[in-house]
C-alpha cells in the first residue's frame, strides 16, 4: 500500500476503497464506465489521436508509444485486441495488483481500445500462475456482461464486443507479443520472426492485432477522463502520466508505487521504499526488471528516474521493477539467479539463446561454487558477445528476440562494477562474503 503525496491515478480506487475496489458497484460509484460510454461516440481517428497526444508509452517494458502502435493497425478485418497480462519478469508484480484490485478499470480500457481499433473480439492473456487475478477478472467480465457493457450491443449501441480470459501455461517468453500470439493460437510460445515488426500488420491468425499491456490499457479511461494534456502534465517531460514501480529486495517497504517520472533513485529507494533493510548499505539495484543492466549507488543514486536518463546510463526502466540489493549480497549469485531465469525461460528456438544462456548460467554457478577459473569472466563476456554483439545497450542481437540479450545484462554489470568480487571468487575458491 502506498502512502505518498504523489497523485494517484491507477491505484486511487484501490487505496481509497480497499474492501470493494474490484466490484462493478464501486467502480461505477467512482465514475467508472463513463469514458467507455463516451468513447462509443468517438471515431477511431479521434481516439488514436488522443492516445497519441497523451504520449502514453506502452508499459510492457519495450517503451513504445501506444498510440503509434494503434495507428499501425492494417486495414483488413477482423482485427483482435490482446491484453498482455503475462507478467513474469522477476521483480514485476504491478499487473497482478491491477488485475486483482481494479479489473473493471482494465475492462473499460479494453472497451476503449476495442472501439478505437474496431475490434469485436478481445483476449486477456493472464499468466497461468495467476489464477486468483484471473478469477477476479472473470468475475468482473461476468458483471460487465450482465450490465450490458460487454457482449452484443454494448451501452445500447449495435457494437458487439466479446472478451475472453486465456490462461497461460507458465512460460515467461509468452510476454513477448508475438510469442503470446503463438501461444494464444495454441502453439508453442515461440517468438515469431520479424518483420513484420508489429502484430498490427499480421498477428493473431495472421490478422491485424493490437497487443497492449494491462497497465497500458488501464490508463486509457483516465486519459479520456482528464484529457491528453492533463495526463501529460502528470508526468515528466517525455515520460507522461504516472508509472507503477514494483520495488522488491532489501528495502524496508517493498511494494508497488504509483509515481511520476523525474524523482531520483535515492528518493525511490530511501524515502518511498523506506530505505535499506536492517540498516545495511546499498550495493546495487536493478532499475527496470531482470533484463536491465544494473545501477550502483556511486554513479546513479541521484540520477532522476526518466526513460532518457536511464537509457543514457546504459540501462532502462523497462517494466518498472526495481530490485534492490544490499552489501550482504553475493553479486555472482545474484547474477547467476537472473541468468538462470533466462536460461530456464529460453524458448529454445534459436541457437545462441538456447545454448548460450545455459552455458552462462553454468559458468556463473561454477564461479559461485568456487570452481571458477581466471579465464571465466572473459569467457562469460565473450559468450555474451556472441549473443549480443558489442555488448551495447540497447542490445544488438544474434537471436530472434531480446530474451537472449537480456541474460547478458547481469554479466556486463558484473564485469563493469564487480570484477574484483568475481576475481575474489576465483582466487579464494569460495564466495568472499562467506
Amino acid at each position: 500500500m502506498t502512502t505518498t503525496t504523489y497523485p494517484q491515478v491507477l491505484t486511487r480506487r484501490m487505496t481509497e476503497h480497499p474492501a470493494d475496489s474490484h466490484t462493478l458497484a464501486r467502480y461505477e460509484a467512482t465514475g467508472g464506465y463513463q469514458q467507455a460510454r463516451a468513447a462509443m461516440g468517438m471515431t477511431r481517428e479521434q481516439l488514436v489521436e488522443t492516445v497519441k497526444e497523451s504520449g502514453l508509452i506502452g508499459r510492457g517494458g519495450a517503451g513504445f508509444s501506444a498510440g503509434m502502435k494503434w495507428s499501425f493497425l492494417a486495414p483488413p478485418r477482423p482485427s483482435y485486441l490482446v491484453v498482455n497480462g503475462d507478467e513474469s519478469e522477476p521483480g514485476t508484480f504491478k499487473d497482478r495488483q491491477l488485475l486483482e484490485r481494479d479489473p473493471h478499470q482494465m475492462i473499460e480500457g479494453i472497451i476503449i481500445a476495442s472501439v478505437a481499433n474496431e475490434v469485436h473480439e478481445a483476449f486477456i492473456y493472464i499468466r497461468g500462475e495467476y489464477p486468483k487475478p484471473a478469477r477476479r477478472v472473470q468475475h468482473a467480465i461476468d458483471e460487465a456482461y450482465a450490465a450490458g457493457y460487454l457482449g452484443d450491443g454494448i451501452f445500447g449501441s449495435d457494437y458487439q464486443l466479446d472478451v475472453t480470459v486465456h490462461l497461460g501455461g507458465g512460460a515467461y517468453i509468452c510476454g513477448e507479443e508475438t510469442a503470446l500470439i503463438n501461444s494464444l493460437e495454441g502453439r508453442r510460445g515461440e517468438p515469431r520472426l520479424k518483420p513484420p515488426y508489429f502484430p498490427a500488420a499480421k498477428g493473431l491468425y495472421m490478422l491485424p492485432t493490437i497487443v497492449n499491456n494491462v497497465e497500458t490499457v488501464s490508463n486509457l479511461p483516465h486519459i479520456l477522463e482528464m484529457g491528453a494534456d492533463a495526463y501529460k502534465a502528470l508526468g515528466h517531460d517525455k515520460d507522461t502520466g504516472t508509472f507503477l514501480f514494483s520495488v522488491s529486495g532489501h528495502v524496508k517497504r517493498p511494494g508497488n508505487y504509483e509515481l511520476p517520472h523525474g524523482i531520483t533513485w535515492r528518493e525511490l529507494i530511501f524515502d518511498i521504499a523506506g530505505g535499506m533493510l536492517d540498516g545495511r548499505e546499498l550495493k546495487a539495484w536493478i532499475p527496470g526488471g531482470a533484463s536491465a543492466p544494473w545501477f550502483v549507488p556511486e554513479e546513479h543514486l541521484d540520477m532522476p528516474i526518466t526513460k532518457d536518463d536511464c537509457g543514457q546510463a546504459g540501462s532502462m526502466l523497462g517494466s518498472g521493477a526495481v530490485i534492490v540489493m544490499d552489501d550482504s549480497t553475493c553479486m555472482v549469485k545474484a547474477a547467476e539467479r537472473v541468468v538462470r531465469f533466462f536460461a530456464h525461460e529460453s524458448c529454445g528456438q534459436c541457437t545462441p539463446c538456447r545454448e548460450g544462456t545455459t552455458w552462462m548460467q553454468q559458468i556463473l554457478a561454477r564461479i559461485e561454487e568456487g570452481h571458477g577459473r581466471a579465464v571465466d569472466l572473459d569467457l562469460l563476456l565473450d559468450v555474451s558477445d556472441n549473443i549480443s554483439p558489442g555488448l551495447a545497450w540497447p542490445p544488438k542481437m544474434t537471436t530472434i528476440c531480446p530474451l537472449g540479450p537480456s541474460a547478458v545484462s547481469p554479466v556486463t554489470s558484473l564485469a563493469k562494477y564487480f570484477r574484483e568480487e568475481v576475481e575474489a571468487h576465483v582466487t579464494e575458491g569460495r564466495c568472499p562474503l562467506g
Binding site: S346, G348, W359
Partner: protein, 802 residues
C-alpha cells in the same frame, strides 16, 4: 515471374527475383553463406542463426539472418565482415558445446554440414568445460528412421518437412529451451511414407536410416545419378554404392519432377538389387523344379522351342508380357523382338491394371508435373497418389497448401489428399460412369467444383482409382477433362517405366515411338525397319492370358513380368502359364510367374545397366550403372538379341547404346533423342511432345450389386521388388477387408472378425477393419498383399461372416 531486383552481395551486384531469400540469391550466384535450418524447399524460420549477414540500413549495419531476408531492390549485404565472422563462430561454438562429437561413428561423418561448416567457419577449440547434455539414444522414430538427440541441433527441418511437405505432423520438438528435443508420440511413430527425406535433409547425423546405418562411410561411396526404379514420376536420384553393393538412394532436386523428395519406397527400395535371392545362372525346367544350365544351352533351348511354336502355329501364338520394369532400351528390344523376330503383336507392359495405352502414351493436351504449380484447379480422379505416386502427391499437396490451388478429389474412399481437398466426392466402385455423368452436368453437390473446372487452368490427374474400375472410365474422365475450356491431362499408372515401355511399343496397339496401327505411313516405316510388322493390333494382357489358358495361344515370353502377382485375376494368370506349351522368363528373381516357366534367364537389374526411363509426363531421363550384375546376369536387350540370333533373325544390337541409337532413328516421338542429350539436361531429363490421342468418351454400364469391391494398391505390397526389400516389406498392410461400420453391423461382424470376400475370380478370408470413409456397400481390400489370394477385377462381390 516476379520482378527482378538488383542486390549487392560482398560488392558483387546480382539480379534476382524480388522476394527470393537473400541466402538463396547469394548461394546461387557464387557467394556461399553457411546455414543449417534453411532449406530452399521449406519455409524459412531463422532458427540456427548461422546465416547471419550484415545489411546496410539508414541506421547503420544490421546483423540479420539472410534466410528470412527477402531480396529487395538496392539491398547491400556483407557476408564476411568481422562482426559476421564472430557471430558465426559463436553460433558454431554454441551448436557444438552439447554435440557429442562422435563423428567417427556417425553415419553423417564425412558429408556433414556441421562438420564442413565448423571447418570453414568454426572455432578451433571448444571452451566448454561443463558436462554435456545427455539423452537416451538412438531412439527409433519409425521403422526406418533412428534419432540421436545428442547430435541434434534443433534446426527443425524434419519437423517442418513433416508438417509442410509431407502433411504428416508426427514428429515435433517438445520441451523448452535447453531441454528441447525431437520426439514422436508414444505408439504413434513417424510412420510417414516420406520419413526418409528427413534423413537426407538432416544437417547433422541426428536422423539415420536403419537401411544404411553403419553400412559405409561417405568417402568410400561411389555415386551416380539415375532415375527412381519404383514409381512413374521419374524422380531424379543418386545411387550410392560401395564394394559393388548399392547402399543408398538419395533424392536429387530436379525442379521438374521430385524437387529432391522421395517416398520411402523409392528411397529404401534398393535392397532388392543386392538380394541373395537374385538369379545368377540360367535355369532350365527339370521335372517339377529347375536345374542350372549354361547360357548356350538355355538360349538354344529357347530359340528351338519358340521357333517350334512359331513354325507350327505362327508367331501370333506367342504372347509377350512386361517391359515396364526395365529401361526403354530393354522395352524397345522386347517390342522389336515380338514384332520382328516372333511376328506377334500380342505384347503388353500393363498388367491388366492400367488405363488404355493410348491414353497413357499419347494423350493430348498433356500436362507436365510442373503445370501443377500454376493450375488454379486440380482434378484428381485416379489412384490415391499417396499410395501410388508419392512425389506427385507432394507436388499436388504443395500446390494446394502453398499456392491455394483448388483441389477436387473423386475417389471411392479416403485418400491422402482429402485433408487438402476443396471438394471431395466419394462414390461406389462400379458407378464411375454415372458419377462422371452427374459430375459433368454439374448437378447438385458438384456445382461449385464443376464451376471451378470451367474457370481453369486445370490439371486433371487421371488414372484408375482401383482395379475393379472399368479401365475405360479413365478414358471417359480424360475425355471430360479434354472438353474443359483450359485443361491438361496428366495420366497416372503404376510400375516404374510403364510409360517408357508403352512408348517403346510394349502395347498391343502401339509401335515404338507412340505409333498407332491407324497411322499407315508410320506403320509402313516400321515394316521397312523391322522387316515385317503384323498389320493389326494384338491382344492385351487379359486377352493374352485367356488365350493361353484356352489354348488359342501357345507360348509366352515374360520380360520382368509377374502376372500371377500383378494382374487382378492371378488365378487366370497361373492357369495361363501352366497351360502354355512354352514359357521363357527374363527375370531377377524366381517369382510366382517365372517359377512356372520352362526357361528362366537371369537378367541384370536396376543400377546394373544403362538406359533411359520415361515418366508419366513423357520426360526421358537417364538410368545409370554403378554395380555389376550378380553371377552371369545379362541385360534384357542382350538376352533377347541372343535368342533372336539363334532364331536366325538378329536384331543388330551390340550395346544398350546401339538400341538407343535405333530408337532415335526409328521411333517418331523419340526422333534424334540420344543419351548425350538426356545427360546434358540432367537431372531433369528431356520432355517429349508428340501426343496425338484426344480421348473420346466411352460410356459403360454401372455395376449394381449389394456389395462392391474396391481393390487398390498400397505403397508397400507384395510386389517382387518390395518382397526383396526387407526394410519395407513388413510395412505392407497385409490382408485386410475394410468395411463401413454400418455394413459390418449388417454382416454381424466387428473389427478383428474374419469375413469371406468372394470376388469374381477368387475368394479370401480376411480380418475386418472399420473405415468410415467408405460409402455403404463397399469393401476395400488392398491389392497384392502377402498370402492373400487374388479376387479378380469384378466389382460385384459377396461378403459374409467367416
Amino acid at each position: 515471374m516476379a520482378d527482378l531486383v538488383k542486390i549487392t552481395v560482398d560488392g558483387k551486384e546480382i539480379e534476382v527475383e524480388a522476394g527470393t531469400p537473400v541466402i538463396d540469391a547469394a548461394i546461387d550466384n557464387g557467394t556461399y553463406i553457411p546455414h543449417f535450418c534453411h532449406h530452399s524447399r521449406l519455409e524459412p524460420v531463422g532458427l540456427c542463426r548461422m546465416c547471419l549477414v550484415e545489411l546496410e540500413t539508414p541506421r547503420g549495419m544490421v546483423l540479420t539472418p539472410s534466410c528470412t531476408l527477402p531480396a529487395s531492390e538496392g539491398q547491400v549485404i556483407h557476408t564476411k565482415t568481422p562482426v559476421v565472422d564472430k557471430a558465426q563462430e559463436g553460433v558454431l561454438e554454441f551448436l557444438l558445446i552439447n554435440h557429442p562429437l562422435d563423428c567417427p561413428v556417425c553415419d553423417k561423418g564425412g558429408e556433414c554440414p556441421l562438420q564442413d561448416q565448423t571447418l570453414g567457419y568454426g572455432p578451433g577449440e571448444s571452451r566448454f568445460v561443463e558436462e554435456k547434455r545427455h539423452f537416451e539414444k538412438p531412439v527409433p522414430v519409425s521403422d526406418l528412421v533412428l534419432l540421436d538427440r545428442e547430435r541434434c541441433i534443433l534446426c527443425s527441418r524434419c519437423v517442418r518437412f513433416a508438417e509442410e511437405v509431407a502433411g504428416d505432423p508426427l514428429i515435433e520438438i517438445t520441451a523448452r529451451g535447453n531441454q528441447a528435443h525431437i520426439e514422436t508420440f508414444p505408439d504413434e511413430p513417424f510412420s510417414s511414407y516420406f520419413s526418409g527425406n528427413t534423413v537426407q535433409i538432416c544437417p547433422v547425423g541426428a536422423l539415420t536410416a536403419t537401411a544404411y546405418r553403419f553400412r559405409a562411410r561417405p568417402w568410400d561411396l561411389r555415386k551416380v545419378e539415375s532415375t527412381c526404379p519404383h514409381c512413374t514420376a521419374g524422380e531424379a536420384i543418386e545411387i550410392d554404392a560401395s564394394q559393388n553393393q548399392v547402399l543408398r538412394f538419395n533424392g536429387i532436386d530436379a525442379d521438374a519432377t521430385n524437387q529432391g523428395w522421395l517416398s520411402d519406397k523409392c528411397r529404401f527400395g534398393f535392397e532388392f538389387i543386392g538380394s541373395a535371392e537374385r538369379l545368377t545362372v540360367p535355369l532350365v525346367r527339370d521335372g517339377d523344379g529347375f536345374r542350372e544350365s549354361t547360357w548356350a544351352e538355355a538360349l538354344d533351348l529357347v530359340a528351338e522351342r519358340l521357333g517350334a511354336v512359331i513354325e507350327s502355329r505362327g508367331g501370333e501364338a506367342v504372347a509377350g508380357f512386361g517391359g515396364a520394369r526395365g529401361t526403354n532400351e530393354d522395352a524397345y528390344a522386347f517390342s522389336k523382338f515380338m514384332r520382328a523376330v516372333v511376328g506377334s503383336n500380342h505384347i503388353d507392359a500393363r498388367m491388366d491394371d492400367a488405363p488404355a495405352a493410348e491414353l497413357l502414351a499419347a494423350v493430348q493436351p498433356r500436362a507436365t508435373i510442373g503445370d501443377l504449380d500454376t493450375a488454379s484447379t486440380i482434378l484428381l480422379w485416379g489412384p490415391d497418389l499417396k499410395e501410388e505416386a508419392g512425389t506427385l502427391y507432394l507436388r499436388v499437396r504443395q500446390a494446394v497448401q502453398k499456392r491455394g490451388a483448388k483441389l477436387v478429389v473423386v475417389h471411392p474412399r479416403r485418400t491422402g489428399l482429402d485433408d487438402r481437398a476443396t471438394w471431395k466426392f466419394t462414390y461406389r466402385p462400379g458407378t464411375g460412369f454415372g458419377t462422371l455423368e452427374a459430375f459433368a452436368s454439374g448437378a447438385g453437390d458438384f456445382a461449385e467444383a464443376r464451376k471451378a473446372l470451367d474457370e481453369g487452368p486445370v490439371v486433371a490427374v487421371v488414372g484408375l482409382t482401383g482395379m475393379t474400375e472399368d479401365p475405360t472410365l479413365a478414358t471417359a474422365v480424360a475425355a471430360f477433362a479434354a472438353g474443359l475450356p483450359d485443361a491438361k491431362i496428366l495420366p497416372v499408372a503404376r510400375r516404374s517405366n510403364t510409360f517408357g515401355a508403352l512408348d517403346m511399343g510394349c502395347a498391343p496397339g502401339l509401335l515404338p515411338g507412340r505409333v498407332s496401327f491407324g497411322d499407315a505411313d508410320a506403320v509402313a516405316a516400321f515394316e521397312a525397319a523391322f522387316g515385317a510388322v503384323p498389320d493389326h493390333a494384338g491382344l492385351d494382357t487379359s486377352g493374352m492370358l485367356e488365350g493361353l489358358a484356352n489354348g488359342d495361344l501357345a507360348a509366352a515370353v515374360l520380360v520382368g513380368a509377374d502376372p500371377v502377382r500383378d494382374v487382378p485375376d492371378g488365378a487366370l494368370a497361373r492357369r495361363a502359364l501352366e497351360a502354355a506349351d512354352f514359357v521363357v522368363a527374363l527375370d531377377l528373381f524366381l517369382t510366382d510367374s517365372s517359377s512356372l516357366a520352362d526357361v528362366v534367364l537371369p537378367a541384370e537389374g536396376f543400377a546394373e545397366k544403362e538406359g533411359t526411363f520415361t515418366n508419366l509426363e513423357g520426360r526421358v531421363s537417364k538410368v545409370n550403372r554403378i554395380v555389376a550384375g550378380p553371377g552371369q546376369t545379362q541385360p534384357d536387350w542382350s538376352i533377347l538379341e541372343e535368342i533372336a540370333r539363334r532364331m536366325g533373325r538378329p536384331m543388330g544390337f551390340d550395346s544398350a547404346e546401339t538400341v538407343a541409337e535405333e530408337i532415335a532413328t526409328v521411333a517418331p516421338a523419340y526422333a534424334d533423342l540420344r543419351w548425350r542429350d538426356v545427360e546434358r539436361k540432367k537431372p531433369e531429363g528431356v520432355l517429349l511432345d508428340g501426343g496425338w490421342y484426344t480421348p473420346k468418351a466411352p460410356a459403360g454400364p454401372d455395376v449394381d450389386a449389394d456389395m462392391v469391391l474396391h481393390l487398390a494398391r498400397t505403397l508397400y505390397d507384395d510386389g517382387v521388388a518390395m518382397r526383396q526389400s526387407l526394410s519395407l516389406h513388413h510395412l505392407a498392410p497385409g490382408g485386410v477387408a475394410y468395411l463401413h461400420p454400418g455394413d459390418a453391423e449388417r454382416l454381424g461382424v466387428t473389427e478383428g472378425d474374419q469375413v469371406v470376400v468372394v470376388g469374381s475370380a477368387g475368394e479370401a478370408t480376411l480380418p475386418v477393419r472399420f473405415d468410415p470413409s467408405l460409402p455403404a456397400g463397399v469393401v476395400y481390400v488392398p491389392f497384392n498383399q502377402a498370402g492373400v489370394p487374388s479376387l479378380g477385377a469384378g466389382a460385384a462381390v459377396e461378403v459374409r461372416s467367416a
